[in-house]
């Protein structure tokens, strides 16, 4: 092990707590509680080591055993995602749960990797940098699989739109996502924007990234081959977010404890863009054996995970780490969350080639040490050992909790409290209700946000917001591509977390198939309150069970994701919010289906049936009501609807399709008309009669497994035959009319598109400028 010349001087700055010293001073008081460890967890560390940990070891265990890194509360439930799968579901899975991101085979030798992650707490503290570094982190996960990142998406949830703090968060978070993602050259192709007071002190900033690679390019995070060299490259290590991993994710924000506010991480998108290109060149030149990004828990995580996933041993010299802040202690260096860093394993023969690529891209690097076959992770400081651990005990054998859980006592009264307010009756009232709905914070036009994101860069975006899914071409010669959608409905999940998770999956699945793609795989970001609250833990367990059951029924596996707990302030948790991302594949993105109609005279069909399901709906939300049971979910019907939509797209039967979800048919028809500013004549009488519901209920109910499509006249017979043959309800509800400039609900009312557009587009600019 070489020691850098300045290391001897460096070491004098600290009284280094070596392993030898630790063994000799068993009685030393250690700040394990301040670092977020519980007493029994600390005792377990002592038991594992057979002595007290050194300060550096304590830092490593505390960050790696935090909720954020160890999944200690969620692990016992998450294993269902691995258990409730069939061989058929795994057919397209090249890399499953457990790596940085899952990898899915999409055919023709291509693979896609995608994952959604949260950056909720940091974004509340410093909205711009929190959101920016959230994008940066998920993109590095994608790079570390060996893929070129090709798109990002961002599901966002804020408090009430008119709360004084909401504007601060919206401005900071949206410009942070744009500022980072736009500078990386990654098209932003969709996301969500939800306002609900339950997210007031706990905004949800989830970021999804997708990357593309050839099968042979898959890279894994493991350190194999004793004698291979370990290198850290990218940005220098500073004091960013020290303790963020454990402190942020283990404690709720509490006004009485301001001292818990952490140092925030600052993102450098330019450094990350260079890092992307530099890594892709490393992969192309085959000079790295294994690679790991540095995110939460920084070097602690990278060294322990690489070592335990490989041959089991690693020996590094920590004074070789290039520092931005020379005053950092060894423990702080191990915990630092400085952004835009990667760690790789390189054979000695490839070291020169590695250095040449670093020089080309002007990226700093330092050789830290080497892979060993000792089964120990040994970290030295100027030649003295400060960490000597079995890396598996740090990375994989952390505490596992069977947290107590209990269905909240209030759940029965919540379910019994069905929406029974007076319903608008008569043409004028229903028309006003549509305008009010389409101007509401959750249903209004989102372009104030999405226009701040680049959707064109890379030239492969075939569909983006406001369409149902984002679509990216993968192969420019064949048109092979993917569609992705993310969805969640916190209100549904609050009413019934098991069904709510299935509903989120159903909607995301439906969005992808509405765009014309065949759903293939799932990623999830599970945002919940405190796991120490048995009610929240019950919500979490029910959600995971629902999602795992739903995935099995639809035949799409969960490939990876993230859990964010402790999203609560003052004892009040957010709604359970399982964000589900579904990835689908197209053999040719040229046949993607947009969400609006354009061709005069095309027939408009409603697929599926409508029941009286207003509980948890956007309409009930407008009236301040939340109670009852969420819409029924029938995944077999969703699957069938999906097949019909994909077939209709493949065979050129439909020119537009839009799923019916939040806001019901009223929102679906409004959005389809506004997409290209083309009106339609709509007649709903027959469907009302068929389904036994009144006009208002047909328009505002949020019954599932429904979609609206526009069918060319010449294809109508074929389309109807297809639906009939599969026994799927369908009804002709109107005709596209390029002349009238309105949605003409015949024999009821006329809704001019100008009026609808003004209501729909005015909301966000009015609140945010």
């Amino acid at each position: 092990m070489t020691v850098s010349p300045s290391a001897a001087a460096e070491q004098k700055k600290f009284r280094i707590d070596t392993v030898e010293h630790a063994a000799a001073t068993p009685g030393t008081e250690l700040p394990w509680a301040e670092l977020g460890l519980k007493e029994d967890e600390f005792n377990r560390v002592v038991e594992i080591l057979g002595r007290r940990p050194t300060a550096a070891e304590l830092a490593m265990y505390s960050v790696m055993w935090s909720e954020h890194c160890s999944y200690k509360s969620s692990k016992v439930h998450l294993k269902q995602f691995g258990e409730k799968v069939t061989d058929k579901m795994k057919e397209h899975l090249l890399v499953g749960i457990g790596e940085n991101a899952g990898v899915v085979d999409i055919g023709e030798g291509w693979a896609v990797t995608f994952k959604v992650e949260s950056h909720n707490h940091p974004s509340f503290v410093e909205p711009y940098q929190g959101a920016a570094t959230g994008v940066g982190g998920i993109v590095r996960d994608i790079i570390s699989m060996g893929a070129r990142p090709v798109a990002v998406m961002d599901p966002l949830r804020f408090g009430a739109i008119d709360h004084p703090d909401t504007a601060r968060l919206v401005h900071g978070i949206v410009s942070g996502i744009g500022g980072y993602g736009n500078s990386l050259g990654l098209p932003n192709i969709g996301g969500e924007l939800v306002f609900d007071s339950v997210y007031q002190g706990n905004p949800l900033v989830n970021a999804l990234a997708v990357g593309v690679l050839r099968h042979e390019d898959i890279r894994l995070a493991n350190a194999s081959g004793a004698g291979n060299k370990v290198v850290l490259f990218g940005a220098r290590t500073g004091g960013d977010g020290i303790g963020g991993a454990s402190v942020l994710a283990s404690e709720s924000f509490d006004a009485t404890k301001p001292s818990k506010r952490p140092a925030v991480q600052v993102g450098d998108p330019f450094a990350e863009k260079v890092l992307i290109e530099c890594c892709l060149e490393l992969f192309k030149s085959s000079v790295v054996e294994g690679i790991q990004d540095l995110g939460a828990a920084g070097i602690s995580c990278a060294t322990s995970e690489l070592a335990s996933n490989g041959d089991g041993g690693m020996h590094v010299e920590l004074t070789n780490v290039l520092l931005r802040d020379p005053t950092l202690t060894p423990g702080e260096i191990l915990m630092s969350e400085s952004q835009e860093r990667m760690m790789a394993v390189v054979t000695p023969e490839n070291a020169d080639a590695f250095e040449a690529i670093m020089a080309k891209w002007n990226v700093e690097y330092s050789w830290l040490g080497e892979v060993t076959d000792t089964g120990r992770l040994i970290i030295d400081w100027a030649g003295e050992t400060i960490v000597d651990v079995d890396p598996r005990t740090v990375a994989h054998e952390g505490p596992v909790y069977q947290r107590p859980m209990a269905r909240p006592a209030a759940q029965d009264s919540i379910e019994a409290n069905s929406f029974n307010a007076e319903r608008p009756f008569g043409s004028a009232a229903v028309k006003d209700a549509i305008l009010e709905l389409m101007a509401s914070p959750n249903m209004c036009d989102k372009s104030w946000v999405t226009n701040q994101y680049d959707r064109y860069v890379q030239g492969n975006t075939a569909l983006a917001m406001p369409d149902d899914a984002g679509v990216i071409r993968v192969d420019e010669t064949t048109g092979l591509g993917v569609a992705i959608s993310t969805d969640a409905n916190g209100r549904y999940s609050y009413l019934n977390p098991y069904e709510g998770a299935k509903l989120a999956l159903a909607e995301s699945y439906r969005n992808v198939s509405t765009a014309g793609a065949t759903p293939l795989a799932v990623t999830d970001c599970l945002n919940f309150g405190s796991p120490e609250d048995p009610g929240v833990m019950w919500q979490f367990a029910e959600s995971v069970r629902g999602l795992a059951d739903g995935c099995r029924e639809l035949g799409v596996p969960v490939t990876g994701g993230n859990v964010s707990l402790y999203n609560q302030t003052g004892g009040v948790a957010i709604h359970p919010t399982p964000v589900v991302g579904v990835l689908g594949v197209f053999d040719d993105v040229a046949r993607r289906t947009p969400s609006g109609w354009r061709q005069d005279g095309q027939a408009i069909y409603l697929m599926g049936t409508t029941q009286d399901e207003l509980d948890g709906s956007e309409y009930a939300n407008l009236r301040g009501h939340l109670g009852g049971k969420p819409p029924k979910v029938d995944l077999q019907a969703e699957k069938l609807l999906g097949e019909l939509l994909v077939n209709a797209s493949r065979d050129g039967m439909i020119d537009a399709a839009h799923d019916v979800s939040e806001g019901g048919l009223a929102a679906a028809l409004s959005e389809m008309a506004l997409r290209f500013g083309v009106g339609a004549r709509i007649g709903l009488g027959e469907v009302c009669e068929r389904d036994g519901v009144d006009l208002f209920t047909l328009l505002f109910s949020e019954s599932q497994a429904r979609a609206v499509v526009a069918v060319a006249r010449s294809e109508e017979v074929r389309f109807k035959d297809m639906c009939s043959a599969r026994g799927f309800a369908h009804a002709r509800i109107g005709v596209v009319d390029t002349e009238i400039g309105a949605l003409d609900f015949q024999s009821n009312f006329v809704l001019p598109l100008d009026e609808l557009k003004a209501a729909h587009e005015g909301t966000l600019p009015r609140h945010f400028g």
């Binding site: 290109e277 959707r455 064109y456 993968v474």
Partner: protein, 258 residues
Amino acid sequence: MSTPLIGDFSVAPENDALRAVRIGVITFPGTLDDRDAARAVTIAGGTAVGLWHAEANLQSVDAVIIPGGFSYGDYLRAGAIARFAPLMEKVVDAAAGGMPVLGICNGFQILTEAHLLPGSMVKNNHLKFSCADQLLRVENNSTAWTSAYEQGAGMVVPLKNQDGQYVADEKTLDELEGEGRVVFRYDGDNPNGSRRGIAGITNAAGNVVGLMPHPEHAVEPGFGPDSSAYGEVGLGYGTDGLRIFSSVLNSLVAGGKS
């Protein structure tokens, strides 16, 4: 290109003379639209050649495109650091010799920092990054990069930037107007506060052109804007930007190249 491409875009040459024209596309650290610009050249029928900022070698190209992005993060000023790249000296010399040079977005900013074009770009007057389809007017069709357009023709191409507001002193603006060097002007509402609605300009010789909007994102049916100045088009079928690339290829071929 020096960076790995996802899916090589290879179109069989339809016209050998066009395909023989070599258009360089420069990559700086932080450049984003380089592969898009190269794709546009290929679709227009020419041959794209990747140029690396640190190598002072133009590789015998016939024209140069400086694409969009955030070179060096735009941290000092957009384009301020990139203009000092070794390759830029060669570009400045070649431009003086008449070689067609096009700067798009960040490339336009680099051309102004390199004093190949007058004026500068500051933050949009609405202070936000904005990505939207934009209607432009071609006000000068005699440059190397606009000869395939009718004078006064409209074109719809994406406009996406944070620092897109073109500014210059009144004297410079009057000169640009007087000499017909305003090449593109925003049609309708001014999207970013640019002086006199200027979207793109040229040098006196007409070989160096810079513009803020992105013609390279309106060249391929299905992946461009939803509208066109030439009538209704299908979803993403706006390809009004393609003639920028055809213009330079045709003028180089007509000028005796190959």
